[in-house]
Subunit: 317 residues, 2 copies
């Protein structure tokens, strides 16, 4: 079985000019779950394919994903990623933009290794995935400037911005193994649903998680008035008095962060928004599990995907 971390480590970035490639090495050695390449290789194995054939696609997905983080972190002016300074902080904005552009090119360089007969389709799927991600990021930025965002709008934004990358990972892995069209459709949808459930869980943990294991500061979304599913559902389900209080905290310019986190969390608890989120998460998880059942491979071949889905979506933190 391919060790994806080792495969990523063996990509060489010792190239001139150093200033262009050092930030790429830094971004890729930052760790993370390697979820996308793992899913791609897993789908390939599930359908009896040769993992080596799926490796370029797996690497392309991981490089592309980390590239989007580089540019997202510039756009959000985020200071920290995976416990380390972001590229635009460690270097500067221009470096993050340019090294990011080079990373996008490097993702397509990986695709050069794809079997020629599959390349047109892989290129199309990869481009469509990238386009969805840009559309999702654009919606995310627009939503932050808007007064009100509906649950459906939010879910569609998450689907585009983060979930299609998981869908594409499973689908591309399956494609490399020669999976049937109906299985490829299922694989894409499974990835999408896992992605949606995962993001909702992330929104919940941002409020109710355990800082020691969550990896991010608890309450960050509350402090920044981030339009997470938690906030959207709270605003939709608050009574007039709760709504006034929520709005007051959202509009407040000067506040004690700990106090804001405590008071808004108390409001969320009173509105009972956590079970609403968890119900939605459970729905998407169930849909993913049902679709996994429909894949036309023996049950034992599915176990890996079932296990990773359970592990991802039963995080306590």
């Amino acid at each position: 079985m391919i060790d994806i971390n080792q495969a990523i480590s063996s990509l060489s970035w010792q190239r001139e000019p150093y200033g262009l490639y050092a930030p790429i090495a830094y971004a890729l050695e930052g760790g993370g779950k390697r979820l996308r390449p793992t899913l791609a290789l897993m789908a390939c194995r599930m359908f009896g394919g040769d993992e080596e054939k799926a490796l370029p696609v797996a690497l392309a997905l991981e490089i592309f994903h980390n590239f989007t983080l580089l540019h997202d972190d510039v756009m959000d002016q985020a200071p920290v990623r995976r416990g380390r300074p972001t590229v635009h902080v460690r270097w500067d904005d221009n470096t993050a933009i340019l090294s990011g552009d080079q990373m996008m090119t490097e993702a397509y360089v990986q695709l050069e290794q794809v079997e020629p007969s599959l390349l047109p389709r892989v290129l199309h799927l990869f481009n469509a995935m990238a386009t969805d991600i840009w559309r999702g990021q654009q919606l995310d930025m627009e939503f932050e400037k808007r007064e009100k965002v509906s649950v459906d709008e939010y879910i569609e934004m998450v689907r585009l911005k983060t979930s299609v990358l998981l869908g594409a990972a499973l689908q591309l892995g399956g494609l490399m193994a020669g999976a049937s069209e109906s299985d490829l459709t299922l694989l894409y949808r499974i990835g999408e649903r896992i992605g949606l459930a995962f993001q909702i869980q992330d929104d919940v943990l941002d409020v109710w998680g355990d800082e020691r294991t969550f990896g991010k500061r608890i309450g960050g979304d509350i402090v920044q008035n981030k339009k997470s599913l938690v906030q959207i559902l709270a605003l939709e389900n608050a009574n007039p008095e709760q709504l006034r209080e929520l709005r007051r905290w959202i509009d407040m310019k000067c506040f004690d962060e700990e106090q804001k986190i405590a008071e808004v969390t108390a409001l969320y608890n009173a509105i009972r928004v956590r079970p609403m989120c968890e119900e939605r998460e459970a729905q998407y998880t169930e849909q993913a599990m049902n679709d996994i059942m429909l894949l036309s491979v023996p049950q034992d071949k599915k176990q890996e995907l079932i296990d990773i889905t359970r592990k991802l979506l039963n995080r306590k933190n």
Copy 2:
């Protein structure tokens, strides 16, 4: 014959979310010489190919080129492009970054139309070209922070940042027409040489051109201490007194712009740097013309490329 402006206009950007695609439409309708797609289609015609087959590559090159301008303008914080506010000024930095990323994807979307048998090679050439451009842009940014840049370093930076795109345009156009390997090598080199000559001419016109026809303000490079070939050769060939004067103007924090332009131009004239630049430009032009002679097609097929090369490189402004 394909009308490239019409082909670009017929690309539709009326898509949701509007905020992502409107800047792309704006960037592409800004005009410009359409030099890269023109060269690609021209090379295809020269070798008897079907222009329609080269059109996706031509459009990919134009979209990619304009994408690099979007990100370059953010990095340089340039206010104006082709007489109009740049995207990051008209909208904001984040829009220019994100719509630029979408444009890069759109370039690769065009490549989906390439004949499958040629796609692996086209993808490779396109990726290699993009990598060269990022390397050139990185060198350009590094040079601006350095005290001294040699002529060779400058030429290599220009070759990477701007010339390979012309080389790739001619080569990809020829590839679409089934040109031989030796002709493809020549086409690439011809584009590179035209690009080098063109950039040197641009550096010269920035000092000695006519504002009415040059399209940019004369003396902009002098005001910004841009490490153009003119400045590099002036510093290398100045006598001690001239060098002291040049350094004084370069280091001056507060100055009258018109006075700086006049005095530095006078120094350049005294150092006789213009003929040195023009000699180099003439060398590259001659190399391009010689290589055009070596292409294995009848003389009359070459006329279009000869004419455009002459037109490009005999600008008075």
